[in-house]
């Protein structure tokens, strides 16, 4: 029997650690060439106060199981949900509503120990039956949960007693805890499903108050929230959080400067240099984050069904230029999915050197004539994605392709991806806590999404590696398997990764001990909003 158990003490950060955490963020900033911001005065946290946050995206819908999970990166609503597990600051999967779990030797039976001190926002106590209800709802095809495909590995869900749940799997599946975070299976009150579209009831540190589409999301303190701070005081400290979707980078920054909001996520990269002017009013934050921009080649049709053509393009991308022109230097050059801050950063992954001459030679060898037309589709939403595609288009022109760049909105992109009428797809992936989420879904030919919405590359060796990795418990061994898979990706080049944008955010100095997660800003673990407080101005 293996057991993962964490004492409450480990979950909670002491105030000293908060300060240290804030400090490390600042050190990171200085190391990146920005002037360090003034250190936060470490004073006693106080209760009360309201914080307005300006975010890139709005809540999509209130039923958290229905198609769109509440993306913690851009959506204030994730503050109202807990999962059985959650991701900590470094995106390790740690206990949440389940305070511990055990796996049987054959890896098929998982026993979950549910916390007994959890209440829903309506005051009702949460039990194992509620968790079971949630899992069943997610597995019901009527619900339309995105994670259903992955979780259908679950064969049986049984309640051993009021606070112990047993799930039996059809096959070994060690990424399971990562699939039960509040992103994929947020626990809601199964007795209030009638009102879930208008007023979700869950267990998180803040409770839902109101949502005015594309205008404001209001959340209030959950008075009987289960977590406590190091001194045993109730969390959270803040009374109210108001999320405001402000999609435009400039608008978001202006809102922060005028005091309309107290914090913004994803500050504009081109404005970052000017932040030094305001460091006496703001704390700024910049770290390497989880999330990578990539280009998939459509391996199902010429010319990218030929590996030489894919390699040629992989060598023709000047990643440095893309980073300079779209992130103004605030990012990382990527050769694999995870940045250095992730526990899943893989060692010994090879990379293609920028070499347009060799690329042209390869193309010639593959019989690609100059002027061959290509369709490059990408998304119009994020500046660094659509600007990057324009720079990439230039690189493709330099090796002789005639590129038809289509910058599409969400609806067009959905249709275009599935039509398969494209040669290169440019986008990014983020928030994949477990490598299985990423390596299987996008690249394994056993995943339906791979052939229908990504590149459709087929490699049986790769498929075997990914299947073996999910059936492997030992972390070191999994890292080894994924590294091997990553080297297959390098050799066959079904996709090319370009950059990872740094997580930039900024907030007024009266917001204390807040620290964004590397996976995004709103996640509240390890110094996020759960433990943030507002100092009187």
């Amino acid at each position: 029997m293996t057991s993962i158990e964490t004492t409450d003490a480990k979950l909670r950060l002491s105030r000293r650690e908060f300060v240290a955490a804030a400090g490390s963020g600042i050190v990171g900033l200085a190391a990146l060439g920005l002037p360090p911001t003034a250190t936060q005065a470490a004073t006693q946290p106080s209760y009360g106060g309201s914080i307005k946050i300006g975010l890139r995206g709005d809540v999509s819908r209130l039923d958290p199981h229905h198609f769109f999970p509440p993306y913690p990166t851009s959506n204030a609503l994730s503050l109202i949900y807990n999962g059985l597990t959650e991701a900590d600051y470094d995106t390790n999967v740690v206990p949440a509503l389940a305070h511990a779990w055990e796996t049987s030797k054959d890896g098929l039976t998982w026993t979950w120990h549910i916390r007994k001190d959890v209440t829903f926002h309506n005051g009702r106590q949460m039990t194992g039956a509620d968790v079971k209800g949630n899992l069943e709802r997610v597995l019901n095809p009527r619900t339309g949960a995105v994670i259903r495909g992955e979780l259908s590995i679950i064969d049986k869900i049984e309640l051993l007693d009021d606070y112990t749940l047993r799930t039996t799997l059809k096959d070994k599946y060690y990424p399971l805890p990562a699939m039960l975070t509040n992103r994929w299976v947020p626990i809601i009150d199964p007795q209030s499903l009638d009102s879930v579209k208008q007023h979700p009831i869950a267990t998180g540190p803040f409770k839902f108050v109101s949502w005015k589409r594309l205008h404001t999301t209001v959340m209030a303190r959950h008075d009987t929230y289960w977590e406590k701070d190091a001194d045993g005081n109730a969390l959270p400290y803040l009374d109210e959080i108001i999320g405001k979707p402000l999609a435009d980078d400039t608008v978001r920054l202006t809102a922060l400067r005028t005091g309309e909001v107290d914090m913004i996520d994803a500050a504009s990269y081109r404005d970052q240099a000017r932040f030094s002017e305001w460091t006496d009013t703001f704390d700024t934050y910049q770290i390497k984050a989880l999330g990578t921009i990539w280009y998939y080649f459509n391996a199902q049709r010429p010319p990218f069904d030929d590996v030489r053509v894919r390699r040629a393009v992989a060598m023709a991308v000047d990643k440095q230029e893309i980073m300079r022109k779209t992130l103004f230097g605030h990012g990382e050059i990527m050769d694999q999915f995870y940045t250095e801050v992730s526990p899943w950063r893989l060692p010994g992954v090879s990379s293609w050197e920028y070499n347009p001459e060799e690329a042209r030679r390869l193309l010639k060898e593959a019989g690609i004539r100059p002027g061959t037309p290509l369709t490059l589709i990408t998304f119009n939403r994020f500046n660094y994605i659509k600007e990057g595609a324009q720079v990439f288009q230039q690189h493709l022109r330099q090796i002789g392709f005639m590129v038809n760049l289509k910058i599409l909105d969400w609806g067009q992109l959905t249709a275009a991806r599935k039509s398969r009428e494209w040669d290169i797809l440019g986008l990014g992936s983020a928030y994949r806590m477990d490598p299985h989420e990423y390596y299987f879904k996008e690249l394994s030919s056993e995943s339906p999404a791979s052939g229908q919405t990504y590149g459709g590359w087929v490699n049986p060796d790769y498929d075997k590696l990914i299947a073996a990795a999910r059936r492997t418990e030992d972390r070191e061994e999994r890292v080894r398997l994924y590294s091997e898979a990553e080297n297959l990706i390098h050799a066959e080049a079904p996709k090319v990764r370009t950059i990872s944008a740094h997580n930039l955010s900024a907030w007024h100095k009266h917001l204390r001990t807040y620290r964004p997660n590397i996976a995004g800003n709103i996640t509240y673990n390890a110094g996020g909003f759960r433990t943030a407080w507002r100092a009187p101005v």
């Binding site: 209130l62 198609f67 579209k197 589409r213 969400w410 609806g411 959905t414 249709a415 999404a449 919405t453």
Partner: protein, 316 residues
């Protein structure tokens, strides 16, 4: 008059019928259909879920049945549920409609307040510098695309002089003077075109009136010029101006989309823009239908009023 009104109303029935059909069937051309839009771009829907959803949304019925069902519900004010946010469409629209009305109305008032004096003075001072300046300004209003005018105003008044906020909205019922600051720029931008049209209209109809016999008679009888103008000519000359402003007011409701997008004005235009990306057709259908009905209604009202005020117009 009554017979005419009834005839116009009857005439509206086929028009509205055609429009609802247009609004409904247009969205059927969307690649993938509504269910595909419910799914994130990187997800694949399995057949089982698709069938369940089709049944739930009533998409498995014949398309004509769907249309009449939608029409019947729409007549009762039920526009369904947003595909994306799962909120009732009627509520989403009604939340936004006052802001659009407020802006469009403000723009029209502004347009009239500027156009009538400017047009009148231009007519009275025909072919002088004043006239040329007034007409030049109106050509400017007709020519400069409103979104560029908006950008230039933001550049000057928000970023340059820092007098006005570049975007945002304050509810006028809560803080009227605070809301003025936000709405000055969008209102001016929106007013530019109708103002230009109305200025020209006032000028030309004023000139028409001034050439009429009664003016000569009045002058020959020694009535003071200001009395002739204010008591007689202006009153007659205003009828076409008010008419065209009325028609433009309705048209503004469609034209606010760009202005609302630039200034972040939370009206129906911005609502449409925001939901176009997600192809959220229940919302789009509802909002577009509302704008169209409003447009048709105002056109009719203006037409009837015009005839009421000006009985010489034959009821053809």
């Amino acid at each position: 008059m009554l017979a005419y009104t009834v005839r116009r109303l009857l005439n509206l029935i086929p028009i509205l019928f055609l429009l609802t059909a247009f609004v409904f069937f247009m969205f059927r051309f969307l690649p993938g259909g509504p269910i595909e839009m419910m799914v994130p771009p990187d997800e694949v829907l399995d057949e089982e879920v698709r069938l369940i959803l089709e049944k739930e949304l009533g998409l498995d019925r014949p398309v004509l049945v769907q249309y009449f069902d939608w029409l019947w519900r729409a007549l009762q004010g039920d526009f369904g549920e947003s595909i994306y946010s799962q909120l009732p469409v009627g509520g989403l629209i009604m939340e936004r409609f006052p802001a659009t009305l407020y802006l469009a109305f403000a723009a029209v008032v502004l347009a009239i307040a500027v156009a009538i004096p400017m047009g009148t003075i231009a007519a009275l001072r025909k072919n002088t510098m004043t006239d040329y300046v007034a007409m030049g300004t109106s050509v400017f209003g007709l020519t400069v695309p409103n979104f560029w005018l908006a950008l230039m105003m933001i550049l000057l008044f928000s970023l340059g002089l820092r007098w006005l906020p570049s975007m945002g909205y304050v509810d006028p019922t809560q803080d009227f003077f605070g809301s003025l600051k936000h709405f000055i720029m969008p209102a001016i931008v929106l007013a530019a075109y109708p103002c230009a049209v109305a200025t020209r209209m006032t000028r030309s109809s004023m000139l028409d009136e001034l050439n009429k016999d009664y003016v000569y008679t009045a002058r020959s009888q020694g009535l003071p010029e200001w009395k002739i103008i204010f008591k007689y000519t202006l009153k007659n000359a205003l009828i076409p101006t008010i008419t065209i402003v009325g028609l433009l007011f309705a048209r503004q409701l469609g034209g606010t989309i760009i202005i609302e997008t630039i200034f972040g004005w939370p009206g129906v235009g911005l609502l449409i823009f925001e939901h176009i990306n997600a192809r959220d057709f229940p919302v789009l259908q509802g909002a577009v239908l509302l704008l169209i009905i409003f447009f048709v209604g105002i056109n009719l009202a203006v037409d009837l009023m015009y005839r009421l005020v000006n009985p010489r117009v034959e009821l053809s």
